[in-house]
């Protein structure tokens, strides 16, 4: 046996499996999620995303804590918020998180030119956008679906939740639907705005502006000009939360008393279609500098 040898350290070809476009979409999604949450990036990039996501969980943890510590069941059911009302507590955290996720997911690729490299890979403009939109939605669901699910599980474990499995399943369905509803509309709007510019600061400001302006304009139109009440449904602040409460079969807030659920669903569809439509159009026409 020779006791010495020199291995060829030169270039080694690869002959293992190749995963094709599906692998590319998964990888892009994972890389984007890491980038948005600041992982594998300087510490400062982690603060805002984790902070705003965490704020969405704090009330849930507190309520679960109270339900566990306070023995008197009547008090807890009276005092603690219902699943629908929960969103009102975390509205500001949701808005901040929304204004962070999509801009960080979409804008840097175009600004640094990495988008051009992605197009030179098995990804196409469509699969790229699908992967990015999916990631943005998944991250937003962490903030819109996570906390109520946490409360549901905790309540069921402590026996506070509904008794029969059928009721639990129904409640679970409603929690998921409400979480999805909020996540989708906020994802769509923020993706739409983020596709319009390659500077994430502008995209974040733009997203907030759209949320605020939709409120200002709709309330001014209704109160000052006397437009019909359903116009309030366009307000991206309270309307999605109102729809979430409707999903849970709870009576919503007073202003929306005489706004039909159909209107709320209609505007929900409208905003979602508008956001995704704008993004789809922008990503089809973006010229890549080669």
């Amino acid at each position: 046996m020779t006791d010495a040898r020199i291995l060829d350290r030169g270039y080694r070809p690869y002959d293992g499996p190749r995963l094709g476009p599906a692998g590319a979409v998964r990888s892009l999604a994972r890389h984007t999620a890491q980038r948005v949450m600041g992982l594998k990036r300087p510490a400062a990039a982690k603060i805002l995303p984790f902070l705003s996501a965490a704020i969405a969980y704090v009330p849930a943890i507190v309520f679960v804590g109270i339900a566990a510590l306070v023995p008197d069941e009547r008090l807890t059911t009276e005092f603690l918020p219902t699943y629908g009302e929960y969103y009102a507590f975390v509205a500001s955290a949701l808005v901040i998180f929304t204004a962070l996720v999509a801009p960080e997911a979409l804008c840097p690729d175009r600004r640094t030119g990495l988008f051009g490299l992605y197009l030179a890979s098995p990804l196409t403009r469509t699969t790229y956008l699908v992967a990015k939109a999916g990631t943005v939605l998944a991250l937003l669901l962490v903030a819109t679906l996570g906390p109520p699910l946490l409360m549901l599980v905790a309540n069921v474990l402590q026996g506070l939740g509904p008794d029969s499995p059928a009721d639990v399943a129904l409640l679970f369905g409603r929690v998921v639907l409400a979480g999805l509803e909020l996540g989708v509309v906020y994802a769509a709007v923020s993706i739409g705005v983020s596709s319009l510019t390659d500077r994430k600061a502008l995209a974040s400001a733009g997203t907030l502006l759209v949320l605020v302006l939709s409120g200002v304009v709709s309330s001014v139109l209704v109160e000052a000009i006397g437009a019909p009440d359903w116009v309030l449904a366009f307000n991206l602040g309270p309307a999605p939360t109102e729809l979430a409460q409707r999903i849970h079969g709870e009576p919503g807030s007073v202003e929306y008393a005489d706004v039909a659920t159909a209107a709320l669903v209609g505007t929900w569809l409208g905003w979602t279609a508008l956001g995704l439509g704008v993004a789809g159009w922008r990503y089809r026409i973006t010229k890549v500098v080669r």
Partner: protein
């Protein structure tokens, strides 16, 4: 020479994106003015003045002045085209005045039109409109000059500018009279208060001073900008 710098700056800075965005902000002022006018308020002058003061003079005018003022010389300094103005046998003061003039030619209309329309629609009457015109003009002139200097002095001038508008003028200046003296807002606010007779917080400066001080501030800012341009190392 000065006219060439003026034309160059005007053509490169008046970009659709910025005009649209600030136009939208201006439209909000008009909408709220309309809301006041249509609503059955008893004292529209009071409400109109509050609108022009809180939204117009405290946020809208400074932001418009910041966007175009800081960009007048800040953008060329960032992207390197400043060299095409600087490496010329042109007095530095001509460059500064030309760029400032161009910025002002955009800031003035963009500030005056929405605020005056809002003032008129709010039913505040001639006094409010006159007050708005004078106050907005003073604000535009002073803020644009101040931010022109900022744009050349620091990088990321938008962030520093917003900090000045929202934090320094928004909070610190409310701490007391002496602090208020160091914020342009108290002067522009005094001009409005003087014209409309509506009492506004920390707006107790006489008209000549309320107009004079901002103009002096503008002149000093332009002088500093000229000195800075003369001594700086063009990227």
């Amino acid at each position: 020479m000065l006219a060439t710098v003026y034309r160059l700056t005007l053509r490169t800075q008046a970009r659709i994106g910025r005009l649209a965005a600030l136009g939208a902000l201006g439209a909000v002022a008009v909408l709220v003015g309309l809301a006041i006018g249509v609503g059955d308020l008893d004292d529209t002058l009071e409400a109109g003045t509050r609108l022009v003061n809180t939204y117009g003079l405290s946020i809208y005018a400074p932001v418009v002045a910041l966007v175009f003022g800081a960009a007048a010389l800040g953008d060329p300094a960032d992207d390197g085209t400043l060299g095409y103005l600087w490496l010329r046998p042109v007095r530095r003061s001509h460059i500064v005045v030309g760029a400032y003039g161009a910025a002002l030619s955009v800031v003035l209309p963009l500030t005056l039109v929405p605020l005056v329309v809002a003032a008129a629609l709010s039913g505040g009457g001639g006094a409010l409109v006159r007050g708005t015109v004078l106050a907005a003009t003073v604000a535009a002139t002073a803020y644009t000059a101040l931010f022109a200097y900022l744009g050349l002095r620091v990088r990321r001038s938008l962030v520093w500018g917003l900090t000045y508008i929202l934090i320094w003028e928004g909070f610190v200046a409310l701490a007391g009279d002496t602090a208020a003296r160091l914020a342009l807002r108290s002067y522009t606010r005094s001009v409005l208060a003087d014209a409309t007779g509506v009492r506004l917080r920390l707006a107790d400066v006489s008209l000549p001073i309320a107009v004079g001080v901002p103009l002096v501030v503008a002149a000093v800012a332009l002088a500093l900008t000229t000195r800075r341009l003369h001594r700086m190392e063009v990227p």
